[in-house]
């Protein structure tokens, strides 16, 4: 058995995919990080201190994890969802009643989204209380604040998509707040967001595109920078 696996791990095909061997020695362990696209964001070695759970509470990592869950469930949900006033709500019903595990997917997406807003906020508090924004990480803190705003926006744009009373009036209340920005700017922003003066078909499409493409891409770019800077500043 063991030999069989060893044979596979040493086969040409396997080695063409994973250039390093099994992480058994420090060398191969380092290579596993070094040669792996997903892991290379990490250094090959980390300070033992930064592994301490009660220092970071893993909040940053959990935020990424939630983001991954959201992207995954979100992509699946997109298969069943049509952003139109006539269909959106009924697609929710279909998810509930006929799509295999559709309700489960939607639940995951919804709860993960709520959790992400909370956890990103907690992450920010942790960074503040541990003073981890001190030079040279000032700008990374700023990016973090942007990511917090983006997380809230992601959650908020998704809130409209089920097109029920909750979402409709949740969004109406929010955009009415935006309208109070003076000098007519608020009205302009609100018009831009909604594609009109009230929440309707246009708003639904805009929120859909924002939710599924524009904001996630922005989040991913900022996340890339955020992690890269953590790494460069000596973090994990």
């Amino acid at each position: 058995m063991k030999k069989f696996f060893e044979k596979i791990f040493q086969s040409k095909v396997w080695r063409s995919i994973f250039r390093h061997g099994l992480p058994v020695s420090n060398r191969t362990r380092a290579e596993a990080v070094f040669y792996n696209f997903f892991l290379h964001v990490h250094p090959t070695k980390v300070r033992k201190r930064s592994l301490k759970f009660t220092y970071t509470w893993g909040l940053g990592g959990l935020s990424v994890g939630l983001f991954i869950v959201l992207v995954f469930t979100g992509a699946l949900l997109m298969l069943y969802y049509r952003p139109s006033v006539a269909q959106a709500y009924w697609d929710m019903k279909d998810l509930q009643f006929v799509v295999s595990s559709g309700q489960f997917l939607r639940n995951m997406h919804r709860w993960a989204a709520h959790a992400m807003v909370a956890i990103v906020f907690l992450h920010m508090m942790r960074v503040f209380y541990t003073g981890s924004y001190r030079p040279p990480k000032e700008f990374n803190w700023v990016i973090g604040v942007m990511l917090l705003v983006i997380t809230v926006l992601l959650s908020y744009t998704g809130y409209l998509l089920p097109w029920d009373q909750l979402s409709y009036w949740g969004i109406s209340v929010g955009t009415n707040m935006v309208r109070s920005v003076p000098f007519g700017i608020g009205d302009k922003i609100s018009f831009l967001l909604l594609g009109g003066n009230s929440v309707g078909e246009n708003a639904l499409v805009r929120f859909y595109v924002l939710h599924c493409f524009i904001i996630p891409v922005a989040a991913m770019v900022l996340m890339g920078i955020h992690f890269w800077r953590i790494r460069k500043d000596g973090g994990v």
């Binding site: 639940n107 604040v145 707040m177 109070s180």
Partner: protein, 233 residues
């Protein structure tokens, strides 16, 4: 320098970081680390933990998702505003503010101020010294502090924002406690060692949590005070 300080790293012992020669440029103060930090391999120590954390998170999420359905209310009806019409929970703190202050203040000025304040934190050397609040010039600090709290209280009182006023006063008491008591240890000592920025941030978080909680649980028709066990519909 001793000869053995120069030998090159030749072991694969990850626990011992390689020693390096440092070129110290002029006009830069050399700071010598007290001791080298202990390092561990990323694989499996960090990656393993990350995977476990992720898995536990997905497990918790899945279990919640199996038993609690995401809400789906009546189909959107532009002609009927629910009473109250609530924004998503993370905006309920803001909506609660909107109940007290004019929309321009609650909806625009305060949120903008908060975001700006958050952004500038690292640039103003805030909290970088992390010195206790009463460390320097106690009299002057007290005057400024009381003036600030006074102005804030008057504003909050004028707008009937008792939900913010009361926690503000409680925290004021907590800040003032170390001023009057000279105790260096225990809770008071700990409070005394908190810096200004720590207090500001904590005050902000407390207010956010309180306002959001009120917005989620205690607001009913016409945004009136309603106990959570009273059904809205």
């Amino acid at each position: 320098m001793k000869e053995k300080d120069f030998h090159l790293e030749d072991s694969s012992n990850a626990k011992k970081p390689p020693k390096r020669v440092a070129f110290i440029k002029a006009r830069t103060a050399a700071r010598v680390k007290k001791e080298d930090e202990e390092m561990v391999m990323t694989v499996p120590n960090l990656v393993g933990r990350e995977v476990i954390a992720f898995e536990i998170m997905v497990i918790i999420l899945s279990v919640i998702s199996l038993f609690f359905n995401a809400p789906l209310e009546w189909i959107a009806n532009p002609e009927h505003t629910p009473n109250p019409a609530k924004a998503p929970w993370y905006f309920l703190g803001l909506q609660e503010l909107l109940h007290y202050f004019p929309p321009i203040v609650a909806g625009v000025i305060l949120p903008t101020l908060v975001v700006v304040a958050l952004i500038v934190i690292p640039y103003f050397r805030i909290n970088q010294k992390q010195e206790g609040f009463w460390k320097e010039d106690r009299q002057k600090t007290l005057m400024i502090f009381l003036a600030a709290v006074g102005i804030l209280s008057v504003i909050l009182f004028l707008f009937d924002v008792y939900a913010m006023l009361i926690p503000t006063w409680i925290m004021t008491g907590m800040i003032l406690a170390p001023y009057f008591s000279k105790k260096e240890d225990g809770i008071i000592g700990w409070l005394g060692s908190r810096s200004l920025s720590w207090w500001v941030m904590t005050w902000f978080v407390v207010i956010v949590v309180i306002l959001t909680t009120i917005g989620i649980l205690f607001r009913g028709p016409e945004w009136s005070w309603t106990w959570p066990w009273h059904e809205i519909y």
